[in-house]
């Protein structure tokens, strides 16, 4: 038996060993430059989803009457039609308040009839997709089921996006309490238009929870800590999300024991719906529904001073109609 290897064999073996060593070294170099798994991604600054004003159309409308569907339709009509806000091909994200696993009559969540009408309007306007998303306090599946918001979404052709861990990422809001905070970003990244629909609610700490506080439902992370600076947080949210449209759903008004409610005595029939492009103004109007004033809501003043809207809602061109 020959003790020496052939030249071909030697080249093959040395080559294989060298290639493996080079692959290992190269792989190590590449891996040394990669981000560690679990490292926070770069914060994302939310864009503005606002649309241009329309000549002759007001920026805010208050509609009284019933049923809820009619209120939504009338409000959109007064603002110049849904086409002002949604164009064919848009991916619309609607953020209702689905915070609690409670039936709609308790008034702690958005009225599903309002949501259904809004989803349907967006679909009619040619939206490619209508996403309905919230990061509720209670278990998300149960919230979307018991509130009726899940069913309303699907019936009108929209899609519920339940929050998953991977949907969250840090937001860029330098100099604010929310800088780097974990936010339900994925649906926001997909969306070309954003609409918020918030009920009118008494709130233990903030005094009232309406369109601005509704954005709190996009927050992840240890958001229970934010109660330490709740007014500051809500005012920051007013600048964080610049939506296409905000809807204040006053069909039911939670007047006490907020924001959870729980008893028929806590809810009154409001039969009113306000819609507009300025959430600060809408909330200022909403305060009157709770028989308080804009001045009672510290966060409205803070948002106003930072230029995120006006807390003097009467200064806006507001149309009031009854159906």
């Amino acid at each position: 038996m020959s003790e020496s290897v052939s030249r071909r064999d030697a080249i093959k073996r040395i080559g294989a060993c060298g290639a493996a060593a080079a692959a290992l070294g190269g792989g190590a170099l590449w891996l040394s430059g990669r981000r560690p798994r679990g490292a926070a991604p770069a914060p994302w600054a939310l864009p503005s989803w606002a649309v241009a004003a329309k000549a002759g159309a007001p920026d805010q409308v208050v509609v009284r009457g019933s049923p809820a569907k009619r209120l939504v339709e009338a409000a959109l009509e007064e603002l110049g039609g849904i086409q002002r806000f949604v164009v064919p091909g848009d991916v619309v994200l609607i953020k209702p308040n689905a915070a609690f696993d409670r039936p709609a009559w308790q008034g702690s969540t958005t009225n599903p009839d309002v949501l259904r009408a809004m989803v349907a309007a967006c679909m009619d306007a040619g939206a490619a997709e209508v996403l309905v998303a919230d990061n509720p306090i209670h278990v998300p599946e149960g919230c979307f089921r018991k509130t009726g918001l899940g069913k309303a979404t699907e019936e009108a052709g929209g899609r519920v996006w339940l929050p998953r861990k991977v949907d969250f990422g840090p937001v860029a809001l330098p100099g604010t309490v929310l800088d780097g905070w974990s936010v339900f970003l994925e649906p926001l990244k997909r969306a070309t238009k954003v609409i918020g629909i918030a009920p009118v609610k008494d709130h233990n700490l903030a005094r009232a929870s309406m369109t601005l506080k509704n954005w709190y439902g996009l927050l992840g992370g240890p958001r229970n800590q934010l109660h330490q600076k709740l007014d500051e947080t809500i005012a920051t949210l007013a600048g964080m999300v610049k939506p296409t449209l905000s809807v204040l759903d006053g069909t039911r008004i939670l007047i006490s024991n907020g924001p959870t409610g729980g008893s028929p005595e806590d809810v009154i029939d409001g039969s009113v719906l306000a819609m507009g492009i300025d959430g600060v103004a809408l909330d200022a109007f909403g305060a009157t529904l709770l028989e308080i004033t804009a001045a009672d809501l510290t966060y409205l003043g803070m948002a106003d001073r930072q230029g995120f809207g006006t807390s003097d809602w009467t200064s806006l061109d507001t149309r009031e109609v009854t159906v």
């Binding site: 030697a10 290992l24 981000r35 679990g38």
Partner: protein, 505 residues
């Protein structure tokens, strides 16, 4: 000089160097020596931590690059590390040299390959698959981590105590450190060592996941042991000193060979040699592990580790465990994806506050560092644990980064807060027993102090009025160092205790 003697010198050198590194990593001797070099040069640490984190941790050109370098050396030369360098291998070598039979026949039988030596490959596959799920348990069995932990937690304290009893001073600068549950660490260490009396290098041959990894990477080695069948007279004397039980008398099991060179020395016919590119047919390149077992090991790891985590055998996934990690530690999940339980941090800790967790930090957290403020406290100017951590589980901080004066690697602002102190007012002397105290406020190291007093008028039991100084905590200033808990005069659970960082905004 005989090549085997050169190897013995190498083994002795690296064993002494390993122990010296551990000795020098103890405060206050630590002075910039690369004391974690063995852990960093451990290819299993490099590979598994990189799998778990998706990133190769390095400090400039060193850190876990060293382990990759050693793996490249293994590609070329085979498992030279096992036979020439590994301190835990050398210790086993020493034990079987002392304790195993001297008879040539017994040694030949003891060094025959046993068919269950494939177990180490199953262990390796299971552990690496676990790492892919970010569950890093290599530290339980990695020989360097195991030896580092055992010396730190068990061997050194025992020797230290012995020296003090003999009136010879000690290893530790002031008093012998104590480590909770170190007895179990010692039992594991000595069981593996003493198994070498029954089967030489039992751990290396049957258990060692690092040896298994290197066994796989030996496959393409261009230098290896070669037996010339024409010269060989089949006396089997080559088995007498074969450390790896790698069948040098037959077709060499390349994955088992530790390149100890004993066979070359022991062969009376000079049939064995360490040769460049010997004929392929004189060795089996792959480990003796059936594909079925390999797949089962992978599937087993993929089921076992995630289900252990899901089944709550591990940490709460809430991200706020009830134990305190060293300053600079990654958040719990990231910490567990990096910590190899080598306990280098415990070794470096000047106050003994760092302790090996038992099961209180979950199964996954076994022998990882946690702080026990009754044993020690975390000196707010100290960052040694991060500097000796080989994998970056505890990030390297400068004192300025720790105090918040310089930008922190985790992007956080202000001082590093490892926890927050809070009062148990039912146990605190000024709060519950009308007795002056506030030692906690006195020792609080931050400026301004996180613990402050309020003067409050109280009516004592006898009806007299007096003014008590009662302590409070400012959670924004408290860094969780635990010196308040350490110095609290209340026996048993202290009246001020550090829990997870409270997280005010």
């Amino acid at each position: 000089m005989r090549i085997a003697n050169v190897r013995v010198i190498s083994q002795a050198f690296f064993l002494v160097l390993f122990i010296a590194c551990l000795y020098l990593a103890t405060a206050p001797r630590i002075a910039g020596f690369p004391t974690s070099i063995f852990l960093e040069a451990d290819p299993l640490v490099s590979v598994a931590v990189t799998i778990a984190t998706g990133h190769l941790y390095h400090v400039g050109a060193t850190g876990l690059f060293l382990g990759i370098g050693l793996l490249i050396a293994t590609l070329i030369l085979g498992r030279v590390f096992c036979g020439w360098i590994c301190p835990f291998g050398t210790l086993q070598h020493l034990v079987h040299w002392l304790g195993f039979s001297r008879s040539a026949k017994a040694r030949i039988d003891g060094n025959r390959y046993r068919k269950w030596y494939w177990i180490k490959y199953v262990i390796l596959i299971g552990l690496l698959v676990g790492a892919a799920f970010q569950i890093l348990q290599i530290g339980l069995l990695d020989p360097i981590a195991l030896a580092s932990r055992s010396f730190t937690d068990f061997v050194f304290p025992v020797i230290d105590q012995g020296l003090r009893l003999l009136g010879l001073g000690g290893i530790a600068p002031s008093q012998t450190p104590v480590f909770a549950g170190a007895w179990l660490i010692g039992i594991v260490f000595f069981t593996f060592l003493l198994m070498s009396v029954v089967i030489p290098r039992f751990f290396c041959r049957a258990v060692c996941p690092l040896g298994a990894l290197m066994g796989v990477f030996s496959r393409l080695a261009v230098w290896r042991i070669h037996r010339d069948v024409e010269t060989c007279d089949a006396c089997n004397l080559c088995l007498k000193g074969c450390e790896g039980a790698s069948d040098p008398h037959g077709t060499l099991r390349l994955s088992e060979c530790m390149v100890c060179m004993n066979c070359v020395e022991d062969c009376p016919c000079q049939a064995l040699s360490f040769k460049f590119l010997p004929p392929s047919e004189s060795a089996k390149p792959w480990p003796d592990l059936s594909g079925r077992r390999a797949v089962l090991a992978g599937v087993g790891g993929a089921i076992l580790f995630p289900s252990l985590r899901r089944a709550g055998a591990t940490v709460p996934l809430s991200g706020s465990p009830g134990w305190i990690r060293p300053p600079g530690s990654h958040p719990e999940a990231g910490f567990l994806a990096r910590c190899i339980k080598c306990d280098a941090c415990l070794n470096s800790c000047p106050t003994n506050v760092l302790q090996p967790a038992g099961l209180e930090a979950g199964f996954e957290g076994l022998w990882t560092p946690i702080l026990d403020m009754r044993v020690g406290y975390c000196d707010v100017t100290c960052t040694l644990c991060g500097h000796v951590c080989p994998t970056g589980a505890i990030e390297r901080l400068t004192p300025d980064q720790r105090s918040g004066k310089a930008e922190r690697p985790d992007g956080g602002e202000g001082p590093v807060q490892i926890g927050t102190a809070s009062y148990d007012r039912g146990r605190c002397l000024p709060w519950a027993m009308d007795t002056a105290c506030v030692v906690c406020e006195e020792v609080c190291p931050t400026s301004p102090k996180a613990i402050y007093n309020r003067k409050q008028e109280v009516v004592a039991r006898d009806g007299t009025k007096r003014v008590m100084q009662r302590p409070f905590v400012d959670p924004k200033l408290c860094v969780g160092c635990g010196i308040c808990e350490h110095e609290c005069p209340i026996r048993g659970p202290a009246a001020v205790r550090v829990g997870s960082h409270i997280g005010t905004i």
